[in-house]
């Protein structure tokens, strides 16, 4: 099994070619062999019938049985030039009148004699067992001296020894066998060469593929001029390379962004601590420093946690525990959670009262909506509103977080879901933000096979909508 699996396509196709050729040649050969055998038999049978007719004619011309006995040569001559043909004439009493070469074995069984009134047909011919194999045999009645006073019926027996056409057929069969064998061999060789030739473009694909590494992902296969099947493969291969290149670029950008974002808090920690250590300070100052450091540490820990979360979401390593959730209960929980911060920011936080069910992982749902609400509250000016809503449609459930406010500048829109992207440079100083909130929202929606989008209306309302399927 494994040996068959590991055979190259070239060898496999060559073998298949050979097998197909053998089968086809053998079928055709068998047919030809049968046809030839049948044709030979028909020709021989016609000859037997012809000899019967000739014997009848000769009998008619002989005046009496006595004349036949006296001069049997015309009869003998009739079969003389035909090796294997036997003629026997028998009188009405069963006595043998004329006998050419004696048969190798007894002419048995004798078929029913064809009456003198009709000509013998192929169906009148029977088989007999000669020493050289199956022979053919026919008997017919003829009349000596037709219309003469001594006219008498004579039984004509014409037989053929089995040997001569069997030999012919055997030789034919041998030739056929040789032809089939060498034909198959030739087909295998040509097949191998042809397949090898057609596989050449594939080998160039392999060469290119070997050439590709994460450092040289921009290599592409040339699809023009390739055979159709390989063109499809090449196109698919190139599309895969596009995706890989995109992924690798995103990954390296992500790593760079992460390193960059780690620099800031670590720099703060380093400089702050070094400055503090430069000279003796009061206990109060030390405490302040440590508290400030702790804040930075917590920020770092959160960044690591969020980054890991995103990495796992990307690899779909997070197990999703989807449940039917009630938006009213979830919204209530989230609103009560953000009640304090909203009030302090002078923002009114409301939620739709009508209950809609949504199928989602409870913790991830909380996290996604909380991230949006937290963002909304911090971007809404004093006196503004943040509203949570949900609606059901045949495609699923939409959950939206809407806030009044200045909206998002169009140049930022395509990037707001990117990792570490911060629309507002000044806000990046906010110690609690990791710049990953919306990236996490998007990752959560991708895990749910849903989508997130943002819409900014004329009235400067920003609406983030989460589309959950099911």
């Amino acid at each position: 099994m494994s040996a068959a699996k590991s055979l190259s396509i070239t060898a496999r196709l060559a073998l298949l070619f050979a097998a197909v050729t053998v089968v086809t040649f053998a079928a055709v050969g068998t047919y030809l062999y049968q046809a030839l055998a049948q044709q030979l038999e028909r020709r021989d049978d016609r000859e037997l019938i012809g000899k019967v007719m000739l014997a009848r004619h000769l009998l008619r011309e002989a005046p009496s049985i006595g004349d036949v006995l006296r001069d049997p040569h015309p009869f003998i001559d009739a079969v003389f030039e035909h090796p294997g043909l036997i003629l026997r004439l028998m009188g009405p009493d069963g006595r043998v009148l004329v006998q050419s070469t004696p048969p190798s074995r007894a002419l048995l069984p004798l078929p029913v004699s064809v009456p003198a009134e009709r000509n013998p047909l192929a169906s009148d011919i029977g088989n007999w067992q000669s020493a050289a194999g199956m022979g053919r045999l026919v008997t017919a009645t003829g009349h000596v001296g037709e219309g003469m006073p001594e006219s008498a019926p004579v039984t004509i027996v014409i037989a053929r020894e089995g040997s001569n056409q069997a030999g012919l057929l055997q030789e034919y069969g041998r030739n056929l066998f040789l032809a089939v064998g060498s034909g198959a061999l030739l087909a295998a060789i040509f097949g191998f060469l042809i397949v090898r030739l057609s596989m050449r473009p594939l080998r160039s694909v392999i060469g290119k593929a070997n050439d590709i590494s994460t450092l040289r992902l921009n290599t592409r296969l040339t699809v023009e001029g390739a055979p159709t099947e390989l063109r499809e493969l090449g196109t698919a291969f190139n599309a895969m390379l596009d995706r890989l290149e995109d992924g690798v670029q995103r990954l390296s950008r992500f790593a760079a962004d992460l390193a960059h974002d780690l620099r800031t808090p670590i720099n703060t920690l380093m400089v702050e601590t070094q400055v503090a250590l430069a000279r003796p300070r009061s206990i109060d100052e030390y405490q302040t420093l440590l508290v400030s450091n702790t804040e930075e540490y917590e920020q770092l820990a959160r960044m690591i946690e969020n980054t890991l979360f995103l990495a796992r979401a990307d690899n779909a390593q997070l197990a999703l525990h989807q449940e039917k959730l009630s938006t009213r209960i979830e919204f209530d929980r989230i609103c009560s959670y953000f009640e304090g911060p909203a009030e302090e920011a002078g923002v009114s936080l409301t939620a739709q009262i009508e209950d809609v069910s949504v199928c989602a992982d409870p913790i991830l749902f909380q996290r996604a909506v909380s991230n949006l609400v937290s963002n909304a509250i911090s971007h809404t000016p004093r006196g503004g509103t943040v509203h949570l809503a949900a609606s059901e449609s045949p495609q699923g459930t939409d959950v939206s977080v809407d806030n009044s406010g200045p909206g998002i500048a169009p140049q930022h829109l395509p990037h707001i879901f990117d990792r570490y992207y911060r629309a507002d440079a000044a806000r990046s100083a906010s110690p609690q933000s990791t710049g990953l909130g919306l990236a996490i929202v998007r990752a959560i929606m991708q895990l749910h096979r849903g989508e997130v989008d943002v819409n900014i209306s004329d009235k400067k309302h920003t609406t983030f909508a989460l589309h959950f399927r099911c």
Partner: protein, 223 residues
């Protein structure tokens, strides 16, 4: 209460040792898995804090060997929070786990919870200085004055008051009060504490809710 810490990283070991000592525990520290296992078997500890990545004999093996002899509660510390890793620890008989980096307050809270394990019944009436909380009737009285709290404010107060003197981290509070189970980067807990203080501390001379900078909040009567 006697604790054993098994941790090879010198700084972490020292600070855990010191932090837990200062929190009122009797603490032994082992630097390798083998030492830790020997100590854990020879002595009777109330709880073992076990690091997974140890030289020589790793935390899993220590835990497996220990479980053949003893049922001492084990809290394991790990820097890898793969689900498989966590499941493995719990299957081997660990009682809880904490992923590095963790807040010290979080570690303290987990240790106290494990030590308290068993049939715990919440008191129906909690008294702290002149503050009285009737848990069943959800009534709060301080210095004879009735204080009206929202449901969440009451839940927050109850959480702090039933564990007096214990520092509660922000994430623990968020999880217990609002059932928000992820580490969010918002200041929700700080705001909620501020509002709670406004009602139960600000009008009175003695303050009961205290901030432990960099760690969280706790409630106690201080002289």
């Amino acid at each position: 209460m006697r604790l054993l810490i098994v941790e090879d990283e010198p700084k972490t070991g020292d600070y855990l040792h010191r932090g837990l000592l200062e929190s009122g525990f009797v603490v032994d520290l082992a630097r390798t898995g083998l030492d830790g296992l020997a100590l854990a078997i020879a002595q009777d500890y109330d709880l073992i804090v076990l690091d997974v990545m140890l030289p020589g004999m790793d935390g899993w093996s220590v835990l497996r060997k220990l479980r053949e002899r003893k049922e001492t509660p084990v809290l394991f510390l790990t820097a890898r929070d793969d689900v498989a890793d966590r499941v493995k620890g719990l299957e081997l008989g660990a009682d809880d786990y904490l992923v590095k980096p963790f807040a010290f307050a979080e570690l303290l809270a987990r240790i106290r919870t494990l030590l308290r394990r068993g049939p715990v019944r919440d008191a129906e009436l909690i008294q702290l200085a002149d503050l009285e909380i009737d848990v069943l009737k959800r009534r709060v009285v301080r210095g004879g004055i009735r204080i009206d709290l929202t449901a969440k404010e009451f839940a927050l107060l109850h959480l702090l008051a039933k564990r007096p003197g214990e520092v509660l981290s922000r994430s623990l509070i968020a999880s217990q009060v609002w059932d928000m189970n992820f580490d969010s980067d918002t200041n929700v807990v700080d705001v909620a504490i501020r509002r709670l203080r406004l009602k139960i501390d600000d009008p009175f001379l003695t303050k009961l809710v205290h901030t432990v900078r960099g760690m969280g909040y706790l409630m106690e009567q201080r002289e």
